[in-house]
Amino acid sequence: MARQRPEPMQVVKHRRDAALNAIVDGVPFIRFLNIAFDRRGDELTGVLNFDEKLIGNPLLPALHGGVTAAFLEVTAVITLSWEYFLPSIESGELDADAIVKDESIRFPKTVDFTVDYLRSGLPRDAYARAFVSRSGRRYASVRVEAWQDNHARPYAQASGHFLMPQPKAKDS
């Protein structure tokens, strides 16, 4: 049997970008911190766009530790959600519109989050990438790191546990 022709690139790109935007754009707090996500294939990089209001120590100056923590947590939850939803986005079961409008769609919830501050955050853009160590039926474990000028010298890292969305209880 002949192999199916791959979908046109624009179709794939549009489907994935629309779904990612639907996951990210609905969250006011992500807008407040001005965090964007850069997608290359299935890989996401969080980008924290610098602003004066993110400063925690005006004397150094340095980014607020809470901003760094929030940036890491946002990157962890979005990456985890993205990986969780991606198979149904690719199969066509779930589209961007449903992610925005379907009230029954739930996102992972943070159970705990631990941040290691390795260096002070410089007053400029920061980047973060999360790695889903395990995503089970109920719990997920995610680690995430953030860097600025040099990827090999992260300025913070974190790990956290998340409660995965539970499917509706079925009548037995």
Binding site: F29, N57, H64, G66, A69, A70, F113, Y117
Partner: protein, 139 residues
């Protein structure tokens, strides 16, 4: 004698991000601090429920812990977070402000140990608890 509480209050209220989140320092002294953050729709993490994002709660807890360290009688001045862990017990009730209370329960020459809680108007069950270690630095 230096009024450390006054210095800490000045320092905290000058933090741009603390202002952006609307943090108010209610109490400080003797290694304890209390900071409140009002409800703000811009800080919502899930637009379907209106619940404040955990990251915003983390920021107040971190600030409150830092303030507690600075106000410790044996602390020489500044501090920075080494690590901080937050456990999220439940979603904060939409519309309610969040009050954090931190206590620096032990301080060595180099490290300060802190615990904190975040409450909304329900005084029974905290929204989140935190524990962390902080550096001890001169002014």
């Amino acid at each position: 004698m230096v009024d450390k509480a006054a210095i800490a209050r000045q320092f905290i209220e000058a933090i741009p991000h603390a202002r952006a989140l609307g943090m108010k320092l209610n109490k400080i002294g003797n290694g304890e601090a209390e900071i409140t953050m009002p409800y703000n729709a811009e800080l919502v993490g899930d637009p379907r429920t209106g619940v404040i994002h955990g990251g915003a709660v983390f920021a107040v807890l971190d600030t409150c812990c830092g303030a507690a360290v600075m106000s410790h009688p044996a602390a020489p001045g500044g501090t920075a977070t080494i690590d901080l862990r937050i456990d999220y017990m439940r979603a904060a009730t939409p519309g309610q402000s969040i009050t954090t209370h931190a206590m620096c329960y032990h301080l060595t020459r180099n490290v300060a140990f802190v615990r904190a809680t975040a409450m909304d108007e329900d005084q029974e069950l905290p929204v989140a608890t935190a524990s962390g270690s902080f550096t001890v630095e001169g002014l």
